[in-house]
Symmetry: C2
Subunit: 414 residues, 2 copies
């Protein structure tokens, strides 16, 4: 008998039919003997409906009142799912964020959890009840309703699993696990049976999008066994683990792509102390996030400075950079929208310098030009032209033998 | 500068446009200097939408979970109205039932308020904020969400007005006040400037339907000045008062009609001690409410026993009565569905025995046959055949000179 925290997202509870399906899954698991805490999101569409009502009244609604408004979405779902469980003779009780004792800071719309008082949940679990919890929400110390921002329901689930020392936290979503690459780009991408939390962080941060970064970080901090699986298909999904040792034979765990960035270059900048700050501060002050940054000092004491931003910020960034160029007496400003970033990720690569060589050789063999390179302990990213992204990703996926049916635990990886 | 508690019902906040209209009214009043607490219901249609979702999943949903579900309706409205007030530069803050400190018993779906901790409301009012409160809801002592049942938002408003010792509690609705009779039945029925709480209780109980009985009782208990007015039209509405003295000149304040009852008679019952109990206990055990009861003892030691029930309970009551008739050796059971009750109500009539005479004479002059009579200190009800209801009501309305434009305070009444 295990204690499992499950989380079902908005599409998993988007209709009465889907709620009934989740209730079937939950009650079957409960009857099999597991203790269950089930975290749910608002029914898909509901948050948009409420946001639109508010927008019609006041496009600049206060964050506190938006939290009061939007938190009703999850509250509706907990009641409906609990009602569905009762229909199946499965004892269950619903909890709002406040009732489950989630206390947050007072940053409305993106609050962070400070503490969870789970005595009530424990009591209900001991009585054999399924505890159904509203994700995404809590209260601050003055009892104002707060919401946790994007990925908030995942965060609720992981935080509850940590507080309750659950045996596993299961995130049910519309994909059946974490893949070695995006199957839309690399058709023979393979679902991983497990992935380390560090790899997951890189994969999520780079656009794998299955789990929100924040919930993965939280899971890592408390070493919560986290599993991603599909609420629409049977399967074991992917387990996120923390045991480095079992991962050492796997060098590269996945390949990710991101074509939502654009590249900017300022050339002929006098190489002086503080020049990076003078270039990047105006960009950052305009609330533009910078991703990769590369600086090359040439022989002439001048430097070229290249960085990437989200493509939606490109126009704004170019305008700022033109202004900066005048102030720092730079030669020129260039930009390129048609780029893409391809990354290979893997915990094993940190102790294996040959990985970078494999990346560069594989791309060279296919005449793919690398525009920028950025590395971390468990990731190598290259920027290529956007039309070459898909080819680059497939080349790298093959180079590291990620394809095929056999799971990495069974020794297939390079 | 007064402290006013206002309540707006579901149709008054049923659309974004209506919410904006309420925000205009509230912010104008706030800017004029009054302190305001505004209680709101769920947007009209929302409660039905949520109930239908639950019904599709489980027609026998638990009361606790229905309260969790339905209480979201008011929570949506408080956020939207507060957002609308902010748009008008009117400082405002929303409170759920729990946040405003409404603690109830644990009878889900029809909880009763036990206490209100209004310290937070006071603080916000002192800071010049309009306090927007979700009607209809509270929490029990274990922090479970409860709802107050029918008329719950009126009850919230009256209870808050009592707790805060407000100068007035204003119930905004879709009618512009309390009338001497239903204008659909008596075209020259007149809006009353004021009515005593006792008259109001009789009028509400007899089907005036503007205010829920329970909120009127609560207002009476704490002597909360209660005003009914329209959110769609200008006007002073009707004030419910507690000063008997100012009412003494008014004998009859209104005429009400009820055609939702049916009459049952059991004849030739042996007149023995306990016979009323033996007849009515089976009816009451079947959860059928009995309204009027009349017993006539004849010369032969047998008695006829007549009573009225809601028309929907008629078939059930007849079946029970046929069974009873056998057991008590009664002669016969008769029933009549086509009856109506017409009542005249007025605090002044308790010290004036001539009222009954006026009622009987007015009906006799028009050849309207009286089937049953029931009297209380401030009410005389007669049962007539349903086709004669409207005529009887108009006759009585005229007999007591209730028609016309002049208000009762100005001495028009008989």
């Amino acid at each position: 008998m295990a204690l499992i925290v499950q989380k079902y997202g908005g599409t998993s509870v988007g209709t009465v039919g889907r709620i009934n399906h989740v209730a079937d899954m939950v009650s079957a698991r409960r009857k099999a003997g597991d203790d269950l805490v089930v975290v749910v999101s608002a029914m898909s569409g509901e948050t948009n409906r409420l946001t639109e009502l508010a927008r019609q009244i006041n496009p600049d609604a206060s964050a506190r009142e938006m939290d009061v408004l939007l938190s009703t979405g999850e509250q509706v779902t907990i009641a409906l799912l609990t009602i569905a469980l009762h229909q199946r003779d499965c004892p269950a009780v619903s909890y709002t964020g406040r009732q489950v004792g989630i206390v947050t800071d007072n940053v409305h719309s993106k609050a962070r959890i400070k503490s969870i008082d789970h005595a009530g949940v424990r009591r209900d679990l001991d009585q054999g009840k399924v505890v159904v919890v509203a994700g995404f929400q809590g209260v601050d110390e003055q009892q104002n309703i707060t919401t946790l921002g994007r990925g908030g329901s995942d965060t609720t689930a992981v935080a509850l699993a940590a507080a309750l020392a659950a045996d596993e936290c299961q995130i049910y979503t519309d994909v059946d696990g974490i893949y070695t690459a995006d199957p839309r780009i690399i058709p023979d991408a393979r679902r991983m049976k497990s992935v380390t939390v560090e790899e997951m962080l890189e994969l999520a941060g780079l656009g794998a999008k299955v789990l929100h970064l924040r919930s993965v970080e939280l899971a890592g901090k408390y070493r919560v066994p986290l599993r991603v699986l599909s609420s629409f298909e049977e399967g074991d999904g992917t387990l996120i683990t923390y045991e480095d040792e079992s991962m050492e034979q796997a060098l590269v765990s996945g390949v990710t792509c991101n074509s939502n960035e654009a590249k900017l270059t300022i050339t002929g900048v006098p190489d002086q102390p503080g020049i990076a700050y003078r270039i990047l501060a105006p960009i950052s002050n305009a609330h533009i996030d910078v991703d990769m940054i590369i600086q090359n000092v040439g022989d002439d004491g001048a430097t070229d400075f290249t960085f990437t931003v989200s493509r939606i910020d490109y126009e704004k960034a170019i305008a700022i950079l033109l202004d900066v160029a005048k102030k720092v007496s730079a030669d020129n400003v260039k930009g390129d929208r048609d780029i893409a970033k391809v990354s290979v990720v893997g915990v094993g690569m940190r102790s294996n310098p040959g990985i970078a060589t494999t990346v560069f050789k594989a791309l060279a063999d296919e005449d793919i030009n690398i525009q920028m390179i950025s590395t971390s302990e468990i990731k190598i990213s290259v920027v290529v032209s956007e039309p070459e992204m898909k080819k680059a990703a497939n080349v790298l996926h093959s180079a590291f033998q990620l394809s095929g049916e056999v799971s990495r635990e069974e020794g297939k990886c390079a």
